[in-house]
Every structure is written in C-alpha cells, then in structure tokens.
C-alpha cells in the first residue's frame, strides 16, 4: 500500500494554495496605493518604504514636467531611507536669488528661464575643453535616482530625490590636467530672463567651487531632474550641482560653465561675507554661523509647528562617506 507522507519529494501543493499570479503581481500596486495614503496612518510609512524598495522610482512622479527615467543609485550613501519632502514644498520654497530673495520668488518668476538650447562650457586645465550641449550631457552617463538630505545654511532641510549621475563621470570624460586642483561652477546670469541679476545682493554671475577631490567624490551629483522628472526652473534647470554634505548654496543652479583651475576660486557668498560663509561650507553642527546656531534644523513639511527642531548631523549625515576628505583639517578654521 502506498502511504503518502510529507517525506517524499513528490508532494505538490494543491492548486488552491498557490497565490494567483495576478494577485501576486498586484502586491506592488497595493503597496503603492497604501503609500499614497489610501491606507493612511502608520501603515503608510511602512508601505512607502516597501514600495520604494520594489519599484524603480523612489517617489511618485508629480506629473508636472517631462519624465526623466533613472535607476536607483548603487553609490554608498546615495539613498537615505528618510521620507522625501513633498514636491509642492520642494518646488515652492527655494533660494535662487537671480529670481528674487524671497523663498516664494523663484517659483513665481523662474518661468522666464530659457533652458533650451543649453550648453555647458568646459574650460581651464583640461585635455578636452569645449562646449557640451545638454543632449550630449544627458547621454554621457547612466541616470541614477538618489535620495539626498539637503541642509540649507539658514537652518532648514529637505529630502530630495534627485536624478543625475556622479560629476566624476563628466570630469573623467574631459580629462583634467595634473595641475588642476579646483573646479569652479559658473551659473547663468542673464538680466533679460532673471529679474534680480544686477541687484546688489551678490556679485553676478553666481560662482561656486569645489576642491577637485570633492568634485570627484561619487556623492557629488550632476543633477538634471528630481522626483523622476526634469528639474523645474526654480530648482536650477536644466542642469545643476548637488553636494549633499555641504550647505545648499554650494550646489550651483543652472550651470553654464565648469572651469578647472590650480588656485582656489573666489565664490559668491564667500566674496559677500567671508566671515560668515567659508569656501568649504561643510554642514557642521559644531561651527555656528556668526548670526545663528547650526546645531539644529527644521525639516520642511515634516517637523510640526510645535515640534522641537532636529539635530543637525556632521557632514549632513554623510560623514562615513566623505569624512576622509577632510582628515587632519581644522574645520573650525576652514569652515
């Protein structure tokens, strides 16, 4: 007599036990639905993390601008597990002085910015200087989606899903010469489309710079998009820099020129107030701005009105990745 036991290898589950293929594949949709608030409450936070882990896009696309496809980044530290800031906040609360000094000004005024055609000029100590069109730049390397913390020097922060690739890919493409030590980023200053170029706030064009090793760090991002779409004008379209361990102003917007030099370039805020804004401007809770503390920050859209501000992290939480760039430096002096 044949006795069926669990021990033999010919036992198969009955068909009723097998999850229907449509249901199995529907799991992601359910997670996404939950993430967008249908399930609400505490479940949503768990579900959004699950959905993020499962789908190529880190966030729901806002559906406002052209899609910019990307794969999740594999660079260490490039995808924080924090909750992304709402697109509405990230695209309406901006510092982009060419369009006005109030946070609401850029979103209101930047529609005049003409982002096509666009070229970025490569200058200075490189083997391959010249002009790169936006199309060329977009194709230069594979697009990655990265979720970075953004800490503004003013004491607020956001979490932004950027789309772009490591600036290092471009730098290697243009082959810097051995004596190149710094990289300078010149941004657009067009008085015809930017109403506040010419105001006395800063010297125009807005210029920022990094040491070459900082620029080559894989976390230094050349960004073309955010939230799965091309950058909105107020966020620095069509191409900008994102250096997540430095205060936001170090990440120039709407870049038109990248210059390789052997001397430390003069940067916009450093020229305006050298005692307040150092060349490095690494996020550092232990070095206060002369006019306010940098120990804490307010996360936009997340920390309630009456919540205590959250602690600011050394190098904005990227110390493990970038700390060694500053080994042996006195960060109180070289702030």
């Amino acid at each position: 007599m044949l006795i069926k036991t669990q021990g033999n290898g010919f036992n198969h589950p009955v068909t009723s036990e097998i999850t229907d293929r449509a249901h199995y594949e529907g799991r992601r949709d359910i997670l996404k639905l939950m993430a967008t608030g249908v399930a609400g409450g505490a479940m949503a936070a768990w579900a959004s993390r699950q959905a993020l882990a499962q789908t190529p896009g880190l966030v729901q696309r806002p559906g406002k601008l052209a899609t910019l496809n990307a794969k999740p980044s594999m660079v260490a530290g490039a995808t924080t597990v924090e909750k992304p800031t709402a697109y509405k906040d990230a695209s309406s609360y901006n510092n982009f002085y060419e369009f006005g000094t109030d946070k609401a000004d850029p979103a209101a005024n930047a529609h005049t910015l003409k982002t096509s055609p666009w070229t970025v000029e490569i200058e200075g100590l490189v083997k391959k200087p010249g002009k790169l069109g936006l199309e060329e730049l977009l194709k230069l390397s594979a697009m990655e989606e990265r979720l970075y913390r953004l800490r503004c020097v003013e004491g607020w922060s956001m979490v932004i899903p950027w789309v772009g690739y490591s600036l290092a890919d471009l730098i290697r493409h243009v082959e810097p010469l051995g004596n190149a030590k710094y990289v300078e980023f010149v941004t657009l200053a067009d008085p015809k489309t930017m109403p506040f170029v010419g105001s006395r706030v800063l010297d125009w064009p807005y210029v920022e710079a990094l040491r070459l090793d900082e620029a080559l760090h894989p976390l230094t991002l050349l960004a073309f998009g955010m939230y799965g779409e091309v950058l909105p004008n107020q966020s620095g379209a069509p191409v900008r820099l994102v250096v997540p361990w430095k205060y936001g102003f170090k990440s120039g917007k709407s870049i038109v020129k990248i210059r390789f030099t052997d001397k430390q370039p003069a940067t916009a805020w450093n020229k305006a107030a050298a005692n307040e804004y150092g060349f490095y401007s690494n996020v550092n809770p232990n070095v206060d701005h002369p006019r306010w503390s940098q120990a804490t920050e307010r996360r936009i859209g997340e920390d309630g009105l009456f919540a205590k501000k959250r602690k600011t992290l050394m190098f904005n939480g990227y110390e493990a990745q970038v700390g060694q760039l500053y080994a042996g430096m006195d960060l109180k002096k070289l702030f």
């Binding site: 509405k88 105001s199 206060d288 006019r291 009105l305 009456f306």
Partner: protein, 215 residues
C-alpha cells in the same frame, strides 16, 4: 468734511470697529496656520508676519498724534491707547513665535541666543522697553504716576521705534535686502522727525523753557 470725520470717529461704533480691524491679522494668521495655508515653512511665516504687524502697528500708533494735529482730528486721540496695546500684542506674539517655534521654549537656549545674536538682543530690548508702557496704560496708572511722569515714560516708544528698525535692518542685512526696511524706516523716521521739528519750534518760541526736555 473735517466735522463729519470727527463725528464718525467719535461714534460709539468707531472703537469696536478699529479693534476688530486691528485683530484681523491675528485671526488670519491663526486660521491660515490651522488650515496649512502658510506654505512650506509655517513657523518662519508666523515669526515674520507677527514681526511685520508689530512694525505696522507702531507706524499706526505713532501716526495718531501728527494726524490729529495736522488734520485737525481731535477725535483720534481716543484710539491711541488701543493702538499702543496692539503694538504690544503683536510684539508679544512675535516673541512667543520665536521662543516657541525656533527655541522650543528652552530658556537657557533663548538666553544664549539673546547674548549671541545682536539683532535678537535689539528686538528683545525693544519688547522689554514696551512692557512698562503696556503695564501703565490704564487710567489709574496714569493718575498714580502723574501726567508728566507718565508722558515721559511713554516717550520710550520713540526708542522702541528706532530699535525695531535696527532689528529689522539687521535681520535683512544677511541678504542685503533693504527695500522693505527702507519703507518702514521712512515712515517711522518722518513720524519721529515731525515730533523733533515740533519740539524745536516750541523751544524757539519759549526760550525760558530751554532747559526742560521738550522732545
């Protein structure tokens, strides 16, 4: 025309109406905060707008006497105390917003911040100077102090106006953004200037009282 205006200002509805108008910004801010209409950074929006309204109320209260004199509207005088108390009301809200939203009511942090940041010190001094004015705004206090003493004390508001402008200027200095500061400075400056001019004229016409403070 002037007679009609004086009549209107003396009507029993004028004061409640002015009170409601002066309270409107507060009602608006509370509503907007509750309904999330204050944008990405509501804390900052509340801190800034309570400061703006303090400055505006200062302009209103300091405009009353020049208007009363130049336009011949004695009926305006009875609005002065209320306007002054509204300056203090918005100033207290401003201090409260800062202490709560920025400092989490941490008194040690607030004390450190006042010492560390000159513009906070100036703003804090202004509200400290306003406090005895608000505390002595009722009739019995005026009688207890005596009219002359009371008036001298309440001239501190001129100092407060200057401190408020310095505070605002310093706050905007980071962005070299002085357009609005200039507007408030021009308004408050001319209102204070009018008083200086009047005092000088008075001194010139009564040389015997030269030694007495007439500002």
């Amino acid at each position: 025309m002037r007679v009609v205006l004086n009549q209107r200002l003396s009507s029993k509805f004028a004061k409640p109406l002015a009170f409601a108008l002066a309270l409107l910004p507060f009602v608006w801010l509370v509503t907007a905060a509750a309904l999330d209409w204050l944008g990405a950074n509501p804390a900052e929006a509340l801190e800034r707008s309570t400061g703006d309204w303090t400055l505006r109320m200062l302009c209103v209260v300091l405009a009353i006497t020049p208007l009363r004199t130049m336009a011949g509207l004695p009926a305006l005088a009875r609005f002065r105390r209320m306007a002054g108390l509204f300056v203090y009301f918005y100033a207290v809200l401003h201090l409260l917003a800062y202490s709560w939203f920025d400092m989490g009511f941490d008194l040690a942090d607030i004390a450190k911040d006042i010492v560390k940041r000159p513009f906070i010190l100036v703003g804090f001094t202004a509200i400290v100077l306003l406090t005895p004015l608000a505390l002595t705004s009722f009739n019995r206090a005026i009688r207890a102090l005596g009219g002359r003493q009371w008036q001298l004390l309440h001239r501190l508001v001129y100092m407060v106006a200057v401190l408020a402008i310095v505070h605002f200027f310093w706050m905007r200095a980071g962005k070299h953004n002085f357009a609005e500061v200039a507007v408030y400075a021009a308004i408050l400056g001319s209102l204070l200037g009018w008083r200086v001019a009047k005092a000088i004229k008075k001194k010139a016409s009564q040389p015997s009282s030269m030694l007495r403070s007439q500002l």
